[in-house]
Symmetry: C2
Subunit: 413 residues, 2 copies
Amino acid sequence: MFRINENFLKLQSGYLFPEIGRRVQAYAAANPEAPIIRMGIGDVTQPLPAACIAAMHEAVDELANSTTFRGYGPEQGYAFLREAIAEHDYHARKVNIQADEIFVSDGSKCDCGNILDILGAGNRIAICDPVYPVYVDTNVMAGNTGKVHDGGRYGNLVYLEMREENNFEPPLPAEPVDVIYLCYPNNPTGMVASRESLRRWVDYALEHRSLILFDAAYEAYISDPELPRSIFEIEGAERVAIEFRSFSKTAGFTGVRCAFTVVPKALDVTSSDGTTVSLHSLWHRRHTTKFNGASYPVQRGAAAIYSTEGRQQIRDLIQGYMRNAATIREGLAEAGFRCFGGVHAPYVWLKTPDGMSSWEFFDDLLSRCHVVGTPGSGFGAAGEGYFRLSAFNSHTNTVQAVERIMSAYALKS
Amino acid sequence: MFRINENFLKLQSGYLFPEIGRRVQAYAAANPEAPIIRMGIGDVTQPLPAACIAAMHEAVDELANSTTFRGYGPEQGYAFLREAIAEHDYHARKVNIQADEIFVSDGSKCDCGNILDILGAGNRIAICDPVYPVYVDTNVMAGNTGKVHDGGRYGNLVYLEMREENNFEPPLPAEPVDVIYLCYPNNPTGMVASRESLRRWVDYALEHRSLILFDAAYEAYISDPELPRSIFEIEGAERVAIEFRSFSKTAGFTGVRCAFTVVPKALDVTSSDGTTVSLHSLWHRRHTTKFNGASYPVQRGAAAIYSTEGRQQIRDLIQGYMRNAATIREGLAEAGFRCFGGVHAPYVWLKTPDGMSSWEFFDDLLSRCHVVGTPGSGFGAAGEGYFRLSAFNSHTNTVQAVERIMSAYALKS
């Protein structure tokens, strides 16, 4: 009889977004007139930049003609895209990442999960709490955790708590860890990392020979040019880190699907027989064996955001969302909420009022303001008592939602 | 120090297609005037059907407008595509597969590899020889094999040899196996399976509680309506099989990227604690956690092939390639080659003449006819002395290549 991967049986049911959906649906059924505004899920709402649209049409037309038709492309991505990424995302910031260290894919969620394929059993994994749930679930599937305990934490994982008391900075692990997931600008807290903060992690990894998995999906939202946008802006990181980036939040590609992962050639490790193994070569083998390249029209669309018009269009797109973030942050602060993030990220993280639990505030906000957000406890135990609001919406909706919240919760008065 | 997955170190270097590329490049450099015709790699060459082009343009335009914009779609695929697949590929052939048993993805290569995520350690794996190398390599990565032996075979894998003597029908395993990879119409041999042949495998799997991983990427090339196009046309298969299908070879999507996997709800297994576990629920969890849906315009393009025009256009496309296959098969047979396949598949498998090895014939064919094919030994030890020619080309090129072969090799005379 064949055997299944029983690590899957340790997974808790995907609770957060289905439960949000269930509660919103029940509320809407009971209150069909309620003008609900959704600021829960982190999905973009604005159309694709015009440069991407034009490039995708052109690529589709190429596929209609036998002289310009393209079949299988390089699994790692077309040179036109990898070179544009290397030039604009790295060389322009004086970061020495080459085109052949970049692997184009169909999404960061996939890459973050798939990266575990090249890592071995027995690694001690550190994740922040609160955290993007995919890091946790994929480690459960890979057998890197024990069973779940009360409170939803898994055995063997090392949780780095981010709370108001530590300014949402994850502390260095008390015990040595092998793999560390970091996400900056952070989902869900909306906080950003300073150069010193990243320096501390790179030093830790160099000292302990740990691997940093750095998720930079929201880097385009960093507005201060002095802040690092890539882990590779920190000297030595090319020997300890893999970076994940995505066009999803940068250019509205959540439904179009394009991302990339950077595995520097300087990143290596000693295998059990003492030989030096390059992680770049392992990921290259994984990527070319289990993936067949991102869609050609999609890669053309992604490359178009590096054109002069494309860069201006994504700046405008991001400014629009960041204007929403400012509206949320300022309005809620005025109403007396304690708010965090939202300056270099499209998320505002707030302390629930009056000691409400995350889910109590969810229900309260829904019934009093018809606004949907995300309970912080859904991102981990340390998120209890917090709440995430997303800036991914139209400005009109955002203003309306904030006005409703300000009039319902006048916490200062 | 972090640890890597050392199973990757067992992998032999990706030998076949790079080596073909190297030899062709060297030949072309030495003979710049040689009019080389490539019939090696299994990649389509003809433009996308007009219905797909129109649907993709329309979908791209939807993404340009805020009222029709779509962000994240369902990870399993949009209902419009899953329902079209269920209706046309299954219900139309009286196969009871429902839309929610279908998982849309970005490629069968990915699905064939990723499926191992839900299977446990300790499964005994059977693969045919010759075989599509991805089945082997992904099992090496997952730790399901021992080290490689002389001749390129991995320990612990059970190889089912397909040779002229058994009409290229893989024999039932001599020892019990847990997982069996089958591919029909077959790559590389171009042979097809009869109903009785598949019945035998389903019976074997039901008796031994084995899992069949059925790759039907070339099903659209089956021209006899009596032949099974899906493993699920065999009663009981829904309790033992997972099926992989792709739009790559059906509609020219090798660069566009769309495929699907069918995991029936009736497929379950007993876990080590005696509970019954549904493979559908495991794959659902894997797919929604480590994948984020295929690109929206791509899914619209795929759905368009199920329209009335779309179905006619893919019939024409496939007939064009099958006309090439007939040209190859008949021309080579006339020249005295022993040829197989090519009736319900775009590949012709041939015995090399005069006892040449696969690579000897590769060089001979390249230098005498300027035609590139694929050495059978690249697909496994049992492929030695065989050779694959692909029908994916223009008809003009195919006719020219066959004429050259016929005049260079007059084996009967």
